[in-house]
């Protein structure tokens, strides 16, 4: 374990991610797993309601999605797997046990390679297993002042994949990079939306801090309730500082416990003492026969592996030839990447398209709160605009203004240009406008001739205004210099 340069402490971070799978139906019953917009308690059957005497049956698609994920994370797929009961009493768990996997998960011993600050890190994946989600709870107080908790059972029994990392991360930045890479993999595998805000990708973090000159112990703090990459980063940074302070006050090691991230105050708050694994009294789920994961089946799943984001990113940089930061931005947003791929399909300058997407399109989408697939300017529309600029019918400045008009009105570039006119490149026409500007602005001319070169910029502005932005900026500059020179 390498030490961290923060004055004598090393940080150990491991992450547990729960990802909801994009199956049609739930994990062990035929209720829809697309319940997000359904009214409470309407996507429920006796199985996911946890009634006695029901018989759960394994959703094959969920198993295959989990194995596919494990393969993408370089895991070994054991020959046998089974489900187990994890027993604990909490109202969101209808049966008071959760069907999960204990000692024979679907995937074990993988890794995920990430690059943080230019340093390559191989982060271990302990296991990937499958379990069922719990009911959603709402907490409140009624008219008489009595506190209550409410249950919406729709989420109960939805397939949930858990990905457990080795405690290999040493900084909050590494943890964030691991999470973003993992999120991208799940998205590109089409196994999960991996949307953190919507709860489809939930992260719990284990973090401990140890003096560099001592042993690394077993106790750790589990941090929960982080619902964005940013909050994971902030929570881990906070927790690192807090635990260092515990050591500094002579009270180390910090107590093993669960702490909740509190976004508003930017702190973690103690929740309860950590329950030890044996408290869950795992035993084999008697209702579900074990699974044999034979080679033919696993090979068949492996054959469906799409191009993984890390491979795609390398291809964008090395083969397509765009800048690394643009490639990363496109990879992190698959819709944006699809937009880019469609746009570049019929256009020879990918970097130029990337510039437009990461600059103008992303800004316009952000302002409008829209996703790339909702963009009023489609990939073909953008290319039409770029071609107008390539043929000098509009200037670069005009193109950016036209883009905004296209985005706001949904009109085509050709239509807008037909109305407001093409770029003026005609020498005589521009010269005329330049002379007029010189005539009307003797003070600026005098300033220029007195050595204030920035006065030329004022004259350029006047010419652009008179031509409604259509004059070719390079020509205007040349001609002003020529006329005043």
């Amino acid at each position: 374990m390498a030490a961290r340069a923060n004055g004598g402490y090393q940080v150990v971070i491991g992450l547990e991610v729960h990802a909801q799978l994009l199956t049609e139906s739930k994990m062990f019953c035929a209720c829809s797993s697309r319940y997000a917009d359904a009214p409470p308690n309407t996507v429920v059957c006796p199985i996911c309601l946890g009634m006695p005497g029901v018989l759960p049956v394994i959703n094959e698609q969920a198993v295959e999605m989990t194995i596919l994920t494990g393969l993408a994370l370089n895991c070994r797929i054991p020959s046998h797997a089974k489900f187990d009961r994890k027993n604990y009493a909490y109202p969101d768990l209808m049966k008071w046990y959760q069907i999960s996997q204990y000692d024979l998960p679907f995937c074990v011993g993988g890794h995920l390679d990430v690059t943080v600050d230019g340093i390559n890190r191989r982060l271990g994946i302990t296991r990937v297993h499958l379990e069922e989600d719990t009911a959603r709870m709402i907490h409140g107080r009624d008219e008489t002042g009595e506190d209550y908790s409410l249950l919406d059972v729709n989420r109960s029994g939805a397939p949930l994949m858990e990905i457990v990392s080795e405690p290999d991360m040493k900084t909050a930045a590494e943890a964030r990079e691991y999470l973003m890479s993992l999120r991208n993999i799940l998205v590109y595998l089409d196994v999960s939306t991996a949307n953190m805000q919507e709860g489809a990708f939930r992260c719990d973090a284990n973090i401990s801090v140890w003096p560099r000159d001592g042993e690394i112990g077993n106790s750790k703090v589990e941090v929960k309730n982080m619902n964005s990459f940013r909050s994971v980063y902030r929570a881990l940074e906070f927790e690192e500082e807090r635990q260092i302070a515990v050591w500094e006050s002579g009270e180390g090691p910090p107590e093993q416990e669960t702490r909740g991230w509190h976004e508003a105050s930017g702190t973690t708050v103690s929740q309860r003492t950590k329950e030890y694994a044996h408290d869950y009294r795992y035993f084999a789920e008697p209702d579900l026969p074990p699974l044999v994961l034979d080679k033919a089946w696993v090979d068949d799943i492996a054959a469906r592996m799409p191009e993984l984001p890390s491979v795609l990113e390398t291809r964008l940089i090395e083969t397509v030839g765009i800048r690394a930061d643009d490639a990363r931005q496109l990879i992190n947003n698959r819709e944006l990447l699809r937009y880019f791929e469609k746009a570049t399909a019929g256009y020879g300058d990918p970097q130029r398209v990337a510039n437009w997407i990461t600059r103008d399109l992303v800004k316009a989408l952000g302002d409008a709160g829209a996703s790339p697939s909702e963009s009023p300017v489609g990939p073909g529309d953008l290319i039409e605009l770029l071609k107008l600029e390539d043929s000098n019918r509009v200037s670069g400045k005009m193109a950016r203004d036209i883009f905004r008009t296209m985005f706001e009105t949904g009109r085509s570039a050709a239509d807008i240009v037909a109305q407001q006119g093409e770029q003026i490149t005609d020498q005589d026409e521009i010269r005329q406008a330049v002379r007029k500007a010189i005539q009307e602005n003797p003070k600026a001319v005098a300033d220029f001739q007195a050595g204030k070169t920035q006065a030329a910029g004022f004259l350029v502005g006047q010419v652009m205004r008179a031509t409604r932005g259509r004059a070719n900026p390079a020509r205007v500059n040349e001609l002003i210099a020529a006329e005043l020179g």
Binding site: T23, E24, S25, C29, A30, C31, S32, P39, P40, N41, T42, V43, V44, C45, P46, L49, V57, I58, N59, E60, Q61, A62, V63, K82, N87, Y88, A89, Y90, P91, L104, M137, I138, H139, D142, E146, D147, Y148, S149, L150, L151, D152, V153, G260, Q271, R272, D279, R281, A284, P286, L288, P289, P290, L291, V292
Partner: protein, 96 residues
């Protein structure tokens, strides 16, 4: 004989409130049950493959297809209390 603390711990996990008499009784009965399993575990099973299931079935899975759910009124029918369309339970601290 089981430690009283173990009985206490197990009853807490099961959310059972036991009287002192019941705890003493459980201590005796649970110890006997455990003794039976201890006897079973003395068997030499090293030549047997691990068994997670007694039913000789493997890979029993279903196709990922959506079927019918229960009407909401049926879902809520067994709930001791409801509020709106939700099952109402005693307040739990969010932090457990």
């Amino acid at each position: 004989m089981l430690d009283p603390e173990v009985v206490e711990h197990v009853s807490q996990l099961a959310r059972l409130t036991l009287s002192d008499e019941e705890k003493d009784k459980m201590r005796v009965e649970l110890s006997k049950t455990l003794e039976h399993f201890r006897a079973l575990s003395e068997l030499d099973t090293s030549a047997l493959p691990p068994t997670a299931q007694v039913i000789p079935i493997e890979n029993n899975m279903r196709e990922d297809a959506v079927g019918d759910c229960l009407p909401k009124d049926d879902v809520l029918a067994n709930a001791p209390r409801t509020r709106g369309d939700y099952i109402r339970v005693p307040a739990v601290l969010k932090a457990f």
